[in-house]
Symmetry: C2
Subunit: 191 residues, 2 copies
């Protein structure tokens, strides 16, 4: 059993990390800055987290939340995107924790359920869930990178954002999501 006071300390570290993230984004999120925020030594953080990746995984879990207000794949995808957009660099942080295998994504579980409810078998529902997750994170990461670009652009006029590349229509996410979900439905009708 972990004493309640130690658990509280761990929660305080994550809460401090969320404040540092909100104020300065991922570049600000160093162990040093989090320790300063709590007015403790950096070594105190390692009592709770073996390394920065583990702390970022706890931050990622806060970002994505507990998941499941129910609904179809499109509703789950939209809710995931909203969570990622609530925090600067949310998509990049969550993407990294997923790649490290340090984060269970509640939205993925919800997507698998929604895909099965739509008629997919278990294995195909897993593929569908991963496809939607890749689309949502890919889109949102792009969007958040463009925020950085706009900030850089404000300081450096040599960065031209006019030839926008991809994904800059305001309705781009929704229209693309509709295609991905239609693809999942097509897979269900074949199965």
């Amino acid at each position: 059993m972990t004493p309640a006071s130690v658990r509280n300390d761990k929660n305080r570290v994550v809460a401090a990390a969320m404040r540092v993230l909100a104020a300065g984004g991922l570049p600000a999120l160093s162990m040093r800055r989090i320790a300063d925020e709590l007015d403790v030594q950096v070594s105190a953080l390692y009592w709770h987290f073996p390394n920065k990746q583990a702390l970022l995984a706890a931050v990622s879990a806060e970002i994505v939340g507990a998941g499941s207000a129910g609904g179809g794949m499109d509703a789950v995808a939209r809710a995931l995107r909203d969570r990622l957009l609530m925090f600067p660099d949310g998509a990049e942080i969550v993407s990294s924790s997923l790649a490290l295998g340090l984060l269970e994504l509640p939205a993925r579980t919800d997507l698998v359920s929604a895909a099965q409810a739509a008629g997919l078998d278990a294995a195909t529902a897993e593929v569908a869930a991963d496809t939607v997750v890749h689309y949502v994170i890919g889109c949102t990461f792009h969007e958040q990178q463009r925020v950085h670009a706009a900030i850089v652009g404000a300081a450096d006029s040599s960065v031209d954002l006019t030839p926008a590349g991809i994904g800059t229509r305001p309705d781009g996410f929704e229209a693309g999501l509709a295609m991905v979900v239609a693809g999942v439905r097509a897979a269900a009708s074949i199965a």
Copy 2:
């Protein structure tokens, strides 16, 4: 007119950057390391590129290549992924240049053409192209992040790659791509 010797110098800078990238990935790709590779001062690089973003955009253009061996959306998507996988951190570098509006993606043009050939109107073909690009970059970025995770894992046994999260099936990319392309076809049949 830019004299040929100056153009050659610019090409030499990009070639040196590609060697640094191949050897050490994005973390190694500093102006300092590229200058060392060419045995010149860092200031010489700024003669050709106003800033690091501009140099990374030239690197991105090398990574994605000239595009178009023709084919359907799935063939174009597969070819883009293969290019991104040829270089360490290829997806992250290209994603960043796209977000900055500093890269025209030939594959996107090919995807728009392929989508129109499949029966989509011009506006819907743009959405389809962006959706496929987000899916390909999202998948490939995840895959390349996992390479880093494996390297970290080799040095740090506290990073556990077992609870794999998303996208770890070898056929995951293909199966997801099939769904996305099916969604585009569904949009074409509605149009």
